[in-house]
């Protein structure tokens, strides 16, 4: 019952997100709005409802399986984007290289050093 109750909560927030997005014509997806509303609700309440925790533990490991039918489509769009694959691959490779470089550089600049933080250093495996 805990799982069902939690699932109903999640659906409720998704529908609430749906209503907010449509009423205010926001440029975000319904589920994304539901996520933000649930997060706001949790932050205001400062307490994680046990049924919501149960349902999210059940659903989150399924995410990879749930996106897989979309991934299958990759094998059916080769012709649709013929002629653009060089641009796509170069954009992915060079773009990812540059963005990883930028992130590491920015973080090294702005992150306080580890000694000053409350987090323990991981032990080497």
């Amino acid at each position: 019952m805990m799982l069902l109750r939690g699932f109903l909560w999640l659906l409720g927030f998704q529908l609430l997100g749906h209503a907010v997005v449509e009423l205010l014509s926001l440029p975000i997806s319904h589920a994304m709005a539901g996520l933000l509303l649930l997060l706001a609700w949790l932050l205001v309440n400062r307490r994680l409802n046990e049924s919501v925790a149960t349902a999210s533990q059940a659903l989150l490991p399924l995410l990879a399986m749930l996106i897989m039918p979309g991934v299958v489509g990759v094998f059916f769009v080769f012709d649709e984007f013929a002629g653009h694959w060089t641009a796509i691959m170069l954009a992915l490779v060079i773009g990812t290289f540059l963005s990883v470089l930028t992130t590491l550089w920015l973080m090294r600049r702005f992150m306080p050093s580890e000694a000053g933080s409350p987090h323990e250093r991981d032990r080497r495996p």
Partner: protein
């Protein structure tokens, strides 16, 4: 026989069963291969699904229509992402300053670099829109694609490639720049490489893993809120 074939293809049960079987097969082959970071389990599962569709002479559009019974769960599963984010709030509150300085820029540039390069190489708008959410976790990226257009399949393919490239580049650049701070490496993995980066980060240790999850969630939310807005202004 033909009537049976047609009626089986027409029921959502077959599409759902094929998807579950292919996914479980993909995961088990992935485990047997020693969990290679260059080949995510979902990619193996997708190959199995495609092979199944071909063997069954199942039209891809029909499959998509029927499997929607299963992928309906994507909505509540996306909403559920708020829970791990809520559980990480103390990291966010403790480090709000560096996060505020780095995250918008890092997440923005992750999208910008790829779109710019593809645009310079003459890619059409549909390709640019499909590449823009390349560092966003898949469920949120699917929401972005709904907003800005583009091909869902191309976007997901780009997402997987980006995740794999991120694990390679973070190890490489971490060594070149002499970065050993697990928080930094983890964050960079999550910001750029979404769920695939997180898997790699947990191999580095729990701190790297926690920062990768944080980086992924914040990048996803930031991009999902601002990218459609920016897209509207530019397009």
């Amino acid at each position: 026989m033909n009537a049976l074939h047609a009626s089986l293809l027409d029921t959502p049960a077959l599409a759902v069963a094929l998807t579950l079987a292919a996914y479980l097969g993909g995961v088990s082959l992935f485990e047997r291969m020693g969990r290679p970071s260059w080949c995510p389990a979902v990619l193996i599962g997708a190959l199995f699904t495609a092979a199944g569709l071909w063997l069954l002479r199942y039209d891809f559009a029909d499959y998509q229509r029927n499997v929607a019974w299963l992928t309906l769960l994507l909505g509540p599963a996306t909403v559920a992402l708020a829970v791990p984010l809520y559980q990480q709030r103390q990291h966010i509150f403790a480090l709000w300053k560096p996060i505020l300085c780095c995250l918008p820029l890092a997440a923005g540039l992750a999208a910008f670099y790829a779109v710019l390069i593809a645009w310079l190489l003459g890619a059409p708008p549909a390709v640019l829109a499909s590449l823009a959410p390349k560092s966003v976790t898949a469920p949120l990226a699917m929401g972005i694609i709904e907003q800005i257009g583009g091909s869902l399949s191309l976007m997901l393919g780009g997402l997987l490639i980006t995740g794999v490239l991120t694990t390679i580049f973070v190890s490489l650049l971490g060594r070149v720049l002499n970065i050993t701070d697990r928080r930094l490496l983890g964050f960079a993995l999550g910001v750029n490489g979404h769920a695939i980066g997180i898997v790699r980060a947990f191999e580095l240790g729990p701190t790297a893993g926690a920062f990768a999850s944080l980086g992924m969630s914040l990048t996803g939310i930031f991009t999902a809120v601002f990218l459609p807005l920016a897209w509207r202004l530019v397009a």
